[in-house]
Symmetry: C2
Subunit: 218 residues, 2 copies
């Protein structure tokens, strides 16, 4: 048995953007990008993760729980890991998440610039992959064994894996906001032609959760 | 008092398309385009319109009822009226809707090619406007008096009026389907910069209804 490749909890705006414009250290999701994640930020799962009490239960929370649970490996685009661009600066950057990142598994960072692995607390090791998305997926599958691999984002990374037909399951949360500019998830992608279809659609008060699936071998 | 300019019941797919690809006489909404309108086709309002009994009540039906009710004038793109392109053929075409079209009000068709008005049964007269979207709206407002004007589509027509900031209220029905190709409603439009925001989001089993509004003068 081989695990599946999943991109989950990918929030996009009514006008199709997976992140706001003008990404920066101050706005890691781009301007307005936080409003995309309202369905997630109020859940019990998220609040527990950031050390707060309370939070909502229900569908949003059940989906939030699935975002990080049970994966054997993760793949992230460079911009998900760091705000720097180009050759790695010698600044000791170890990601946005502090000493104990929420991955707790091997995490493969797509980059054009080689970097030594970084071993963090809690089971996360960041590996840097310079030879493309297929190579990264192969290493992630090997590391994950029977468990699933998660494509953690951002938009450009998810788009590349979708275009290659390498994502089995995609969970999109449509948030009722307009962003106007940013990274458009679907632009130029013909998902039905790539074998994808809608398998489920579940609305909540804060988002409409749409599941896309692709049969293996299609 | 002046009526508002509305585009209502504009169904789009998860991947942002307002109609499927390859529009033709056989597929007036493009291939797969009918699946966009599932929320509408089962409603009591729609079934009554096509002479059938039964149909659903509830939110979808209430929104379906608003689609055609109480407008003083309509504006349609050429392709909503006819499948022919270019200079009008001498084929006696009077629209897709038979002798008694569902508009029951003056209906202005945007076209590059002049055509005499066509008086139909039931109060619908088709007028053909060759001098642009602003001129068509001015004529429609004059005809509508205090009543609202509806921009009836298709995608390209709605996009032109949105870009000009001339639509006050837009109701989008997100249907849980993928089309892959077709006319993308939002592509290249920065709606927040044009003054639009989400005013309401109401999910049903068949679609998520999102209302966009623009304050007059914004």
């Amino acid at each position: 048995m081989v695990g599946r490749v999943k991109a989950l909890g990918f929030s996009i705006s009514v006008d199709g953007f997976g992140a706001g414009p003008d990404q920066s250290l101050e706005h890691p999701l781009g301007k307005g990008g936080n409003t995309l994640h309202r369905w997630l930020l109020g859940t019990k799962t998220f609040k527990t993760m950031i050390g707060q009490d309370g939070g909502s239960d229900g569908v949003d929370n059940a989906l939030a729980h699935r975002l990080m649970d049970g994966f054997g490996a993760f793949i992230l685009g460079r911009n998900m890991f760091a705000h720097s661009r180009g050759p790695w600066p010698d600044d000791g950057w170890e990601g946005w998440w502090g000493d104990n990142p929420p991955y707790h598994a091997p995490t493969f960072i797509l980059t054009h610039h080689a970097h030594e692995p970084i071993v963090m607390e809690g089971g996360t090791t960041f590996h840097f992959v310079t030879d493309g998305i297929e190579a990264a997926l192969e290493r992630a599958r090997d590391a994950a064994g029977d468990l699933d691999v998660k494509i953690g984002g951002g938009t450009s990374t998810v788009r590349q894996y979708l275009r290659a037909g390498l994502i089995d399951d995609l969970h999109i949360a449509f948030s009722p906001v307009l962003l106007g500019r940013g990274e458009a998830l679907f632009e130029g992608l013909d998902l039905p032609a790539l074998g994808y279809r809608v398998t489920e659609s579940t609305p909540t008060d804060l988002a409409t959760h749409v599941m896309l699936g692709r049969e293996k071998g299609s």
